[in-house]
Amino acid sequence: MSRLAVLMLAVGACAAQDARQIMADVQNRQKSNSQRYQGWLKVIDSKSKISEKRWSYDRLGSAGESKVVLRFTAPAEVKGVALLIVNHPDRASDQWMWTPSLQRDRRIAFQDRSTRFFGTDFSFEDLEERDVNQYDYKMLGEETVAGAPCWKIESRAKKTKSSQYTHVHLWVDKARYVFLRIESFKGDTMIRRIHYSDYQKIQNIWTPLSLEVEDIARKSKTVLKTEKLEYNVALKEEMFTLQALRRE
């Protein structure tokens, strides 16, 4: 092997290591033991028709080993419907849904994780927690997003992690180590674009209070705003069980 080739491989390995390190830093800086917020969701379809939902969100744990309870509070027709999501580091999450009008829970097996999340422009995969170890990274370069210098990184799911996307482009704010934009691709076609904005430092964690996702093919977009967000709230394990889901 020529010296040049060895040098190129070494540089490539170093760049990959850098990208992975950046992503690990992003994960570490956002780490919290629990989280609680109230979400407000607005879906604007291609004909500008708007539908809204509100929910309360509780998370216990982090980095792909968390449990989440999401309880819808509005509109009236979905009020009381709750989701229990148990994330696993090595496989897709387990999810259950509680429907108060039927007084029963059901296991939701989103085998096709490209399914849209309850009429929004998110897919269920988009909502899963990303563990840095589940992806390979490559540094693509540097770009500015909304005036902020960013690293542009490409991530590809490892073989052990299935994904609807072939690859994802992530723009990481160099100063705050947060995402400003994510573009997800299937081959050469962009499927979704997510913008993160309205960052505030809450309990020393830079947190986007506004998030906008665009479904490129459907020409629709969803805006998610979070309110009353808190980290490291004292949440009990018992709150994240099927029994608890049924009780409330």
């Binding site: 979905v78 849904m97 429907t99 009429g119």
Partner: protein, 851 residues
């Protein structure tokens, strides 16, 4: 072709009526064949089409027959590595209560995953609502319907639709309208989709699913996926492609299909006789013509070909006519069959269109032409052998030579010997059984001329006693022309024998059914979910039975759960009930085993009791270990008894309810057998149950008498074919007798003319023709009733050994025979009216100049 144009066309023009009757004879066979096959195929095709349209991208389906299985199975399926997407389904039909709409096929699916498998194409503007399964799932009254259904009933999004649920009628909100085409065209567009958990509630399914639809991951073959699933699920659940559901339906309805095929075959056979009759007559009438042709150098081959070409042309015309009317008949019959299958087998189907299989139409065309040429073969050969010198001699050629008679008798004796050999040689089933059956038919046909001659000889004194001159003329006419007469008699005889055979089966079925009902169906009331007992969409929770039991008027309630499962390749019915309680009340006929022991063992869950027909069809015996698939695994239990049971046409396996509940994890109930306290009348008990529960539950209460009437009505529908066959027999008789008499009168114009010239009255001529017709009718009926007795013997054998395993006692259908005699005589007389008038109104001068 020249001969055809020069000789055949003028003959056809001269004998238009006979030509039409001959074409009608062929057409009749083809009509029955095309009509019945196409109607049957259309129902099957409709079912398969619905299955296909609902299947979407489904590769395989996991099911437990009809019973459904616990929800937990879904997780097992989803955990199989080869499975890509697996979604649960509940599929059932509901009554809409909307005028003219009939049933609505309701698909219960889990909208969170189902859209990965099925295409739901919605109207504009509804995407947002339907794409948000949260709204759909959060509101259990959500329902989606098709655009066709919405248009037919003037419904739109947001409107309410009332449906029957197990808890009584409920209003549902239309939250989506599917565009026409694709999945929305399943079940003729009468399709609705709702959340699967809401469907569980509606149909009282507890926590079970009917089936799981799934796709296999790319890179795996269907067989790999199937093998992996079977391994993961054990042997109790079936893993099949969607197409296999059509085959199961065909298997359930196979008894009916066999009946339809038999009828079609007979119809074609009868058509063959009519053609034979026509050509025999044509050859006789055209002997002089043939003689001249032979004198002018026409070869035997050319003459034979001339008649065969004529028969082919008539066959073509008859086939085309038959196909046209057959398709019309199929249209009406398919709807009848569709509702009949719903009542008989609990498989509701909606026929969207007539499925005219080109192979069936091609076969009908071929059969029509082939049968026509086959029937004309003997007359054509006879024509080719006409001696030119003797050609102008008249008369003797309508009779059989002694040599021919001897040959026929020998052939008939051989056929009888073959039939006897088949039977006594252990051929009570399979090929020997069918060989024996066909041999008897052939023997009967060969014996017909001789039998006609003997019977007419016996009848002659009787005819003379009634009307001396006319009676003698009629009898002599028949005896002088056995070829002409025997073909007509043969056709009518065959037709009537089929009526007697099928009638006998129906009579024996009624006798056996009533006997069984007397022994087994003795509760005062039956509480079901629908007026159709076979319908199994809705189920009661077991707690409902306890509520009924607590009522003052009630003495005892027995819980019955029925469900179809595959057992040794036969879709049999599992009947699960409290055997200890039922055993105290009912006494079915025991075929094998001892009553007390079998009830005790079955009640303890140590065995099952088989219906006799299941035992026969699956070759099961006492002590055999039977394997019954269940969601909990394969149940292996010994046969502890075999009894006569008509719970289901394909047979029943009786097991104790606790065995079912344990293995199916399902304690729901299809039917409650209710015994009332002494002094409480059935109507009073029925009223009490309806008053107590009618407003809060979907339930249907039948008194014992009403249930019996229901069972007999469904049986009536099943044997509706018999009545159709009587209609065919009447048609055949009219065609044959009119044909025969027309020729007879034409042949005897001179004779009848002379009779009138020497002072015979018109009345006498007319009555002579009538007497001849009545004689043909009487002889046909006599032979038909005798052959029918033999046919019945074979039909019972075929039903017992080949089709349903049901042992029916030989019961000659005396009532049907008694109806047939005057019917056929009236038919014969009415068929003679036209020819008789033609005979008396023909010119005397022309008649005396004739020939």
């Amino acid at each position: 072709m020249i001969l055809l144009r020069l000789l055949t066309l003028p003959y056809v023009r001269k004998h238009k009526l006979r030509t039409v009757l001959t074409i009608a004879g062929i057409a009749l066979g083809v009509v029955i064949f095309v009509g019945m096959r196409t109607a049957n195929d259309s129902v099957m095709y409709g079912f398969q089409q619905t299955v296909d349209r609902l299947a979407g991208k489904t590769h395989l389906q996991v099911s437990a027959g009809e019973t459904g299985f616990p929800e937990e199975v879904l997780e097992k399926v989803q955990a199989v590595a080869e499975v890509d997407i697996a979604v649960p389904v509940i599929e059932a039909t509901v009554q809409t209560g909307l005028a003219g709409q009939g049933n609505l096929l309701l698909l219960g699916v889990d909208m969170t995953g189902d859209r990965s498998l099925r295409e739901y194409d919605f109207e504009d503007g509804e995407e947002a609502v339907i794409d948000d399964p949260l709204v759909f799932l959060a509101q259990p009254d959500s329902i989606m319907i098709t655009r066709d259904f919405a248009n037919q009933n003037k419904l739109s999004s947001g409107d309410k639709l009332k449906l029957e649920t197990i808890a009584g009628p409920k209003q549902f909100t239309i939250r989506g309208i599917m565009k026409p085409g694709g999945m929305a065209s399943a079940f003729g567009g009468n399709l609705a989709v709702m959340d699967i958990y809401a469907a569980q509630f509606i149909f009282g399914r507890g926590r079970s699913f009917d089936r799981i639809d799934l796709t296999i991951k790319p890179g795996y073959t269907l067989e790999q996926g199937r093998a992996a699933l079977e391994k993961a699920l054990g042997g109790g659940l079936q893993v099949d492609p969607p197409s296999s559901r059509g085959k199961q339906f065909e298997s359930i309805a196979s008894i009916f299909s066999v009946g339809a095929s038999l009828n079609s075959l007979f119809a074609l056979l009868i058509g063959l006789f009519i053609i034979y009759n026509t050509f025999s007559i044509a050859v006789t009438q055209r002997r002089a013509e043939i003689g001249v042709l032979r004198s002018l150098g026409a070869t035997r081959g050319q003459i034979r070909m001339l008649f065969l070409m004529e028969s082919a042309a008539l066959g073509l015309a008859g086939s085309l006519t038959g196909i046209f009317f057959g398709l019309l008949l199929a249209r009406g019959m398919a709807q009848y069959l569709s509702s009949f299958f719903g009542e008989m087998y609990g498989v509701t189907q909606r026929v969207e269109q007539i499925s005219a299989d080109p192979r069936v139409l091609g076969l009908a065309m071929f059969a029509g032409i082939f049968m026509s040429m086959l029937a004309a073969w003997i007359p054509a050969r006879a024509a080719s052998e006409v001696d030119p010198v003797k050609a102008l001699h008249k008369g003797a050629y309508e009779s059989f030579s002694d040599h021919e008679n001897r040959r026929r008798l020998w052939a008939a004796a051989t056929m009888c010997a073959l039939a006897a050999g088949c039977w006594f040689g252990g051929g009570s089933r399979g090929l020997p059984l069918y060989t024996g059956y066909l041999s008897v038919i052939v023997a009967a046909v060969l014996l017909t001329p001789a039998a006609v001659r003997w019977l007419v000889v016996l009848l002659r004194p009787l005819l003379r006693a009634v009307l001396p001159v006319e009676g003698a003329l009629a009898a002599d006419s028949l005896m002088q022309a056995p070829r002409r007469t025997s073909a007509t008699v043969g056709a009518v005889m065959l037709s009537l024998s089929l009526v007697i055979g099928l009638g006998g089966v129906s009579t024996a079925s009624y006798v056996s059914l009533i006997d069984w009902m007397n022994n087994v169906l003795n509760p005062d009331l039956f509480v079901g979910t629908s007026e159709q007992i076979a319908e199994r969409s809705y189920r009661f929770p077991a707690s409902f039975g306890e509520e009924i039991r607590r009522m003052d008027a009630i003495d005892d309630v027995q819980f019955v759960r029925t469900a179809r499962v595959q057992f040794r390749g036969v879709p049999v019915m599992v009947v699960a009930t409290d055997i200890a309680a039922v055993g105290k009340r009912v006494r079915p006929k025991v075929v094998a085993g001892e009553r007390e022991t079998m009830n005790r063992l079955a009640a303890e869950g140590k065995g099952v009791i088989l219906a006799d027909n299941v035992a026969l069809m699956t070759r099961s015996r006492m002590g055999d270990i039977v394997e019954i698939p269940s969601p909990g695994g394969v149940i292996r239990l010994p046969v502890v008894g075999i009894t006569i049971d008509y719970s289901d046409q394909k047979g029943a396996i009786l097991m104790d309810r606790k065995v079912f509940v344990e293995n199916w994890k399902d304690d729901s109930v299809n039917l409650f057998r209710v015994y009332l306290k002494k002094g409480v009348g059935p109507e009073q008990g029925k009223r009490a149950i309806l008053e107590r529960f009618g407003s809060e539950r979907k339930l249907f209460v039948m008194t014992n008498e009403q249930l019996r009437d229901y069972a007999l009505r469904v049986t009536d529908q099943f044997f509706g074919l018999t009545y159709m066959q009587i209609f065919v027999a009447v048609l055949v008789a009219i065609l044959g007798i009119v044909n025969s008499l027309t020729v007879s009168i034409t042949d005897r114009r001179r004779e009848l003319g002379v009779l009138q010239a020497v002072g015979g009255l018109r009345r006498q001529v007319r009555q002579a023709v009538w007497m001849e017709a009545l004689s043909i009718g009487l002889v046909s009926v006599m032979l038909g009733l005798v052959l029918g007795a033999v046919m019945l013997f074979y039909y019972l054998g075929i039903i017992r050994e080949e089709v349903a395993g049901i042992r029916l006692d030989y019961t000659y259908p005396v009532k049907i025979a008694l109806i047939l005699i005057p019917t056929m005589m009236a038919v014969a007389l009415s068929a003679a009216l036209g020819p008789a008038e033609s005979a008396v109104r023909s010119s005397l001068v022309e008649a005396l100049e004739y020939e």
